[in-house]
């Protein structure tokens, strides 16, 4: 089966610019996650969707980050305006059902460099 697709793979922007990342989860997966992985650190959960509803966005910097999951399938994560400290790999993951009896499958990520 096809895995989690993310685009773009790489993005370089100047600070104060805006950027958007796209994620297409595995077909049928109800849960979708966005993680931020700063170099040398573990992934940090930014936001979790259950279908098209937000379950947890407690660690999302809402003054500059936003995410949506229209129709409960694809998702976009936006940063506006970007800061230098936003440089990281942004990982999208999906899992099958709300009971969490499956693991999360990860995309290859989008590497963002803010200069």
């Amino acid at each position: 089966e096809a895995g989690v697709a993310q685009s773009p793979r790489y993005k370089i922007i100047e600070k104060r610019q805006s950027v958007a990342f796209w994620c297409n989860p595995i077909s049928g997966h109800a849960t979708l996650y966005w993680y931020q992985q700063i170099l040398g650190q573990g992934p940090k959960l930014l936001i979790q969707f259950q279908n098209n509803g937000v379950v947890d966005d407690s660690q999302l910097p809402k003054d500059r980050f936003s995410a949506e999951r229209l129709k409960g399938v694809d998702s976009t994560l936006k940063i506006q305006p970007a800061k230098l400290e936003d440089s990281a790999v942004y990982l999208c993951a999906s899992s099958l059902d709300p009971d969490m009896n499956t693991e999360a499958f990860f995309g290859q990520g989008t590497r963002l460099t803010v200069v």
Partner: protein, 114 residues
């Protein structure tokens, strides 16, 4: 608060030697437990997972992990490492509450000496 701790940031072992990577969690009930591996420039790949049942879990690439409830630990082991095992290893914990979120440790980078 829920948390995941990987106490070792870096570990170096010789090729052919045994390996144990430590993971501890803080949670009031039994969580779901995962180990992921991340090679440079690659995505996260699941090595193994524990949901219930036998506390010794076998995974891919010869890895295994043991869930010890009394120690709140889920350490990853391999009897004989290969140079290709050099990577970053992440312990992750899924918490069974209404959020059902997965939290990652900060990772352990494994270096292999020839």
């Amino acid at each position: 608060a829920q948390s995941v701790t990987q106490p070792d940031i870096h570990i170096t072992v010789s090729e052919g030697a045994s390996l144990e990577l430590r993971c501890n969690y803080s949670y009031g009930a039994t969580p779901y437990l995962f180990w992921y591996v991340q090679s440079p420039g690659q995505g996260l790949q699941l090595l193994l997972k524990y949901f219930s049942g036998d506390t010794l879990v076998q995974g891919i690439k010869g890895f295994e992990a043991e869930f010890k409830r009394s120690q709140s630990s889920f350490n990853l082991r391999k009897p004989s490492v290969h140079w290709s095992d050099a990577a970053e290893y992440f312990c992750a914990v899924g918490f069974m509450n209404r959020d059902d979120k997965i939290i990652f440790g900060k990772g352990t980078r494994l270096h292999i000496l020839p």
